[in-house]
Symmetry: C2
Subunit: 422 residues, 2 copies
């Protein structure tokens, strides 16, 4: 918006993380892929961010016996996703913003009321407790999964809304920095265990962010140091020494697992002035690594539409909502599905067989047969189109398999007939 | 609760309707059936309410040519549902409450905050603007589809929630009191038109409450008196004189159609003290006539469980939520489905054929084969069980039809074979 020449005021609830010693909140790493990179590129910080990121070429699966199996994301073109630190990225983004004289950032400010008819919002300065009203040509709520602006929008007529908490929670552990990475760094490590899983993402200081996703009741059952350790030794034996027994027990007994929520709503705007983007509009479970990328793509789309509509804000946000809702719903659904893929399907023969077929066809017809993961992570194809594409591929493969089956069946029958009647 | 001996305080946002001259809000009639009657009976006002209600034995369908067709609800046992005035019923309920010295009712009071950790609520007296806190052993939100208590519950972790507005709105018309009813009073009149419909419910003063349900955009297209009248004359010709041309035009041009929302959530309680019931927990579209009945059944169930659990409130509301969520979700879905039945399916041969089969079997096996509408409207079978029941019946009928088809097919083949080989 600042690049387009608008005067921008940013109100942020938290402290300025550039000044803070330690940052509260989720330290979980972010997976940066094509859509996010494209948006960062358009504001000139892509290279900067990639420099301190760690490329991940595929999934490295750890079996319960400690054996490793590699599943490369893109064997055809070797594209990869990037593990980025949340704080590092946030700082870069704030710094990029301060280059514009027409942007003012206010920290420790909270939205308290949205007045849709008046076209204003009320904010509170959390340091001084002073409350004040603000008016603007466009008010964007990029205030996350628990968005206050969306909560107000939800109370207007015809607003479709659903929030779904999944029955699994997550707990974050870490492998401390070492002299060099103790596991292969250029991979997303997964310990898929069917009904639950653990993953690890690499950091530049050779530490790892480890996350365990599990049903809440399974967490509750691990209520003593002994139970926790036994569970780890049985289930993730090769991780115990890396994380450290004390850290494992401490993390489990001193923390409650966090919730995972999937939020869908429609529309994303109220009238011609209020808009929600990012997690505020479409919070999703983290299993496709697309939450941040989808949020950044929101910015690209908004920018493109403002360009196309010559800065007609009302027209733009209406069109934005129309295009974006169906795509955001699609990626929310894909993210939900991908949990099953990561924790279970990756281990199955059928999944690996399908992946080989997909990449064989992708190599032969790179513009026609784009596998689902590639279209989502390494292209800007609309999410909804990615899903349609996959359904079409499923139908084609089904028909091929059926045809082969019928041909082989026929040959076998002919063979046996000629054998019997000989 | 008062009957069980508790001290009860009721806080109601509106004025005392017993004193008010005209009551704002929806005047739409309510359809009282078995579940509602049972609850009213348990507080001793069933007979009183039925006395001023009008029994409706079935649906009377009006074709576009003004022809009538009768679809009786229960040809087997002649059970019927009752058209009740909302205001009359509300007054009766308030009066019944005042008989208990341990009930205090406060009108013009609004819930402003729910403090789940403290176990208290903050309320405001809308006349004096005085705000105050209240504590209690049990805090029940029976505050309707736009419940403030549910809105607060929605912002706690693990609360599943969805609100779905359908693309159709409704507008209320009326047929003024006449010297005697001008249409057959003991019926729910329907003008089913496929994509939309009009219905009429009888009142005791020989007036009728008429409601038209239609896509919002269809309402918007009817923007001039000429268009409105032409639409009515073409679509509902036999209703024009009854409602009156001026009233029709006035209603359409001076009012915006109202929204219809379906709300599902889970759980219905927070901790051992906060509970939502009625529309606050499960607002539904009005097409099964079960919204009020389900709400009243909530009260019966709560009372039964308090009895069973010897007034252990925490245990009761947890159990209540567990039992009720699945049944409320089932009736919300049924209500959504019934719109299609009322506006479209009632006119189809397949629907009428199925209805005949259902009642033939019902008459033969009254305890085994209970048709869906009967189990929902004339029994206390759990809503979820009504749906399972119907699925089982569908399977049985499918098998019978298939078997008959195969037998007839076989006979035909044998017949032709013997004919050809003769």
């Amino acid at each position: 918006m600042a690049k387009r020449g608008y005067d921008v005021e940013v109100f942020e609830r938290r402290d300025d993380i550039r000044a803070a010693v330690e940052v509260k909140g989720r330290s979980i790493n972010l997976a940066l892929s094509h859509r996010g990179r494209k948006a960062l590129n358009s504001i000139g910080i892509e290279d900067d961010v990639l420099e301190s990121a760690i490329p991940m070429k595929g999934r490295l699966l750890h079996s319960a016996k400690g054996e490793l199996k590699r599943v490369v994301y893109d064997p055809t073109f070797n594209q990869c996703i990037f593990s980025v630190g949340r704080n590092y990225l946030n700082k870069k983004l704030i710094q990029a913003t301060t280059n514009f004289p027409n942007v003012k950032i206010y920290f420790n400010h909270l939205l308290t009321r949205s007045n849709f008819e008046e076209g204003s919002v009320t904010l509170i300065n959390l340091k001084t407790c002073e409350e004040f009203k603000r008016n603007a040509d466009l008010i964007i709520g990029a205030d996350g999964a628990y968005s206050k602006l969306r909560l107000a929008m939800q109370q207007t007529p015809q607003f479709q809304y659903s929030q779904q908490y999944i029955e699994h929670g997550y707990l974050e552990l870490s492998i401390r920095p070492q002299m060099g990475h103790k596991m292969e760094p250029n991979n997303l490590h997964i310990w898929p265990r069917g009904k639950f899983m653990m993953i690890a993402l690499p950091n530049q200081d050779s530490s790892w962010t480890v996350t365990i996703f599990m049903p809440f009741e399974k967490f509750e059952n691990l209520s003593t140091p002994k139970k926790v350790l036994k569970f780890f030794q049985d289930t993730f034996p090769d991780s115990v020494d890396l994380i450290g027994e004390n850290d494992i027990v401490d993390t489990f007994l001193k923390n409650r697992p966090s919730e995972l929520v999937s939020i869908k709503c429609s529309p994303y705007h109220i009238g011609g002035k209020f808009l929600i983007i990012g997690d505020a509009a479409h919070a999703m479970v983290p299993f496709y690594g697309q939450g941040m990328n989808a949020g950044f793509e929101d910015c690209s789309l908004l920018d493109d539409l403002l360009e196309k509509n010559r800065n007609d804000i009302a027209k733009t946000i209406q069109e934005y909502s129309k295009v974006r809702v169906k795509n955001a719903h699609a990626i929310c659904d894909l993210a939900m599905y991908n949990y099953v893929e990561m924790r279970d399907l990756v281990n199955r023969i059928g999944f690996q067989w399908r992946k080989s077929i997909d990449h064989l066809l992708f190599r032969s017809f790179p513009n026609k047969w784009i596998p689902l993961y590639n279209s989502v992570s390494f292209s800007t194809m609309e999410y909804n189109q990615c899903v349609c594409n996959r359904k079409w591929q499923d139908r084609v493969i089904y028909k091929i398999v059926m045809t082969i089956g019928i041909i082989i069946g026929t040959i076998v029958i002919i063979f046996f007939k000629s054998f019997i009647y000989k």
